[in-house]
Symmetry: C2
Subunit: 335 residues, 2 copies
DNA sequence: AAAGGTTGCTCAATCGATGTAGCAACGGTA
DNA sequence: TACCGTTGCTACATCGATTGAGCAACCTTT
């Protein structure tokens, strides 16, 4: 107080005429087990309050070999879904009395690894990893350090993981779109439903494509491998791919399943150059959600990943203490 | 290694046939000052590498009375602007060799205070506070703990602060909207430009309203206090307020200055229930930015706060070590 | 009065890294 | 031979909180 320095249990002990151990016990509500008099405890707590004492969590962490920190690693925050994940993570961490430490590590595997190592060096009590580029290495590091960990969004084959039910979500969106469209005919590619965006090699995309195929096949609306345009995740690529499709068909396709919000941005850019009439004949869906996408001038079905449920599931895994691999799928919702 | 436990400098010392001090010196590149033989150092480093040693940052932090953590407190992440702030913060923290610890504290003053205290308890090396509800108390706590701190978005009268030039930005947006609209007439409230959202009592809103008033007055388009609808920041409130206005006017107003992206969401919800023709006669502006909003079905001018510049300025304040109050305004851009 | 139990506390080691102070061995100088 | 300087290292206290072990003082019991 006097010098503006933070006070320690030693200061408090002195002012309260007690020992540091007594102070510690009093502050941690362990005074009954340690058989301190109520009176002594009251005295200590009074002094602590007067001094504005707050524990040095590094010292506690060092002693107890834990930190009270909940670590999260994720690629970035510019994505609505990740933003929701981190928000929910912070909420749940708080509810467990942990302080969230969130690190943006980008998409680079090495950067992600160094972020994980750095969090481990702080003795984080748990680690949630979203959008891991190379999950196996990260899981290995976590296990070596005995840190409870869980993967979200991108699963890991060797650790508990929570992911969106991509196949189911894609199937749902596909079915919804087909229900709204005129029945496609094999003769005319312009009447087909196309899948746009993502990469075959990535599990998430692959699963969505699977869901798309299942439903189009069931509805006898799968005619050609060319219905799936896995052009990548960048908006530019999606814009270009759609432009090419438009040129080939001479018009927009009857239906378009857009694989991510980034791609959808590209789609919107392309559409903004078209006359109104061209657009209203088409049906659009997007596997991702953004409240502002409702702004579009045509009806749009969207799949919203349930960040809240996913984080909840992830914490349940951590609470359960399982470190065995396990894949949990959370159904997304149709908006 | 063998037991999977993390190794310490003591383990390394033993395996390398050296003392813990020597190990510490070697690992911290202080061996020249400590006069260790190159050979010894090499031996130590080799062992450290083999063991996969990483320092216990809590122990180091305890000893050095610092943590290598850069703390940030912000209300939430659902807002694009805050998301950008935190992203930029993480980048800059990283560039300084610090690990970002980002806490979502909501808008509640007590929650924010306890977040700040908690971060201080971890001996964060600096603290950036965005959107503080009651900055003075927070600043006081930081000063008492001698933690360098800076406020962003919501300024503090007693500490370095970086804010958007709200007045200037609002004036710019107002002027832009008025330039596009038909000249409003005092006789017909439906021809007016309205301000929607925010709270008079909050500095940011007050400044924006000031900028709005300046420009509408200059353009002789300020007719009535009722032109400013400070209904709060929630989308529901904004939706309700706009609905009420619509009911009163029998139509949409000629111009609408929406105070934040959250409010704009409410506006969009309301508009989605209206026929196309009703909307095209109005001019919209929003003091906030979202990439998707640029693709809306009506033209929309947006003010984009420069999170990147703001965080940069904020770090410059921290680097300079000034703890004296100082208010830095960063001009936003029109999109 | 000796033995045993309870009450109310304190001592001291511990966590892992850091850094000052200092020790031993050697070479050179007077 | 005694003295000093350099080189290469180690010992030990320290940061602040936690916690097992243990010590007085007091009260019962036989």
């Amino acid at each position: 107080m006097k010098s503006g320095q933070k006070s320690t249990i030693y200061d408090i002990a002195q002012k309260a005429g007690a020992s540091p151990s007594a102070v510690s016990a009093a502050l941690n509500d362990k005074w009954k087990q340690r058989r301190l008099k109520q009176e002594t405890v009251d005295r200590i707590l009074q002094v602590a309050r007067d001094e504005g004492y707050t524990a040095n969590l590094q010292a506690r962490g060092l002693r107890k070999a834990e930190s009270g920190l909940a670590g999260m690693v994720l690629p970035d925050h510019e994505n609505r879904f990740f933003a929701e994940l981190s928000q929910q993570f912070a909420r749940e961490a708080h509810a467990r009395g942990l302080c969230p430490a969130i690190v943006h590590a980008g998409r680079d595997a090495d950067a992600q690894l160094s972020s994980v190592e750095s969090l481990i060096a702080y003795s984080v009590d748990l680690l949630m990893i979203a959008g891991a580029t190379e999950p196996l290495g990260l899981a290995h590091t976590c296990r070596k350090a005995r840190v409870p960990h869980v993967f979200v969004d991108h699963p890991c084959a060797e650790a508990p993981s929570v992911v969106t039910d991509n196949t189911g979500g894609a199937a749902l969106l596909t079915k919804t779109l087909l229900d709204v469209m005129e029945p496609p005919s094999s003769a005319d590619p312009a009447t087909w439903l196309y899948f746009l965006g993502g990469e075959q090699s990535l599990p998430a995309s692959a699963e969505r494509i699977l869901g798309f195929r299942q439903q189009t096949k069931a509805a006898k609306a799968l005619f050609d491998p060319g219905q799936v345009l896995a052009c990548g995740y960048e908006s530019d690529k999606a814009e270009a791919a759609l432009a090419a499709l438009y040129a080939r068909l001479g018009q927009l396709p009857a239906g378009l399943f857009v694989n991510s919000i980034g791609c959808f941005e590209g789609v919107l850019r392309f559409l903004s150059g078209l006359p109104e009439g061209d657009i209203v004949r088409s049906t659009f869906g997007c596997f991702d959600h953004d409240p502002f996408a409702t702004l579009s001038r045509f009806p749009l079905r969207m799949i919203r990943q349930r960040a809240d449920l996913m984080v909840g599931e992830a914490f349940r895994q951590l609470d359960a203490g399982t470190s065995e691999p396990r894949l949990i799928r959370v159904a997304p919702e149709l908006v």
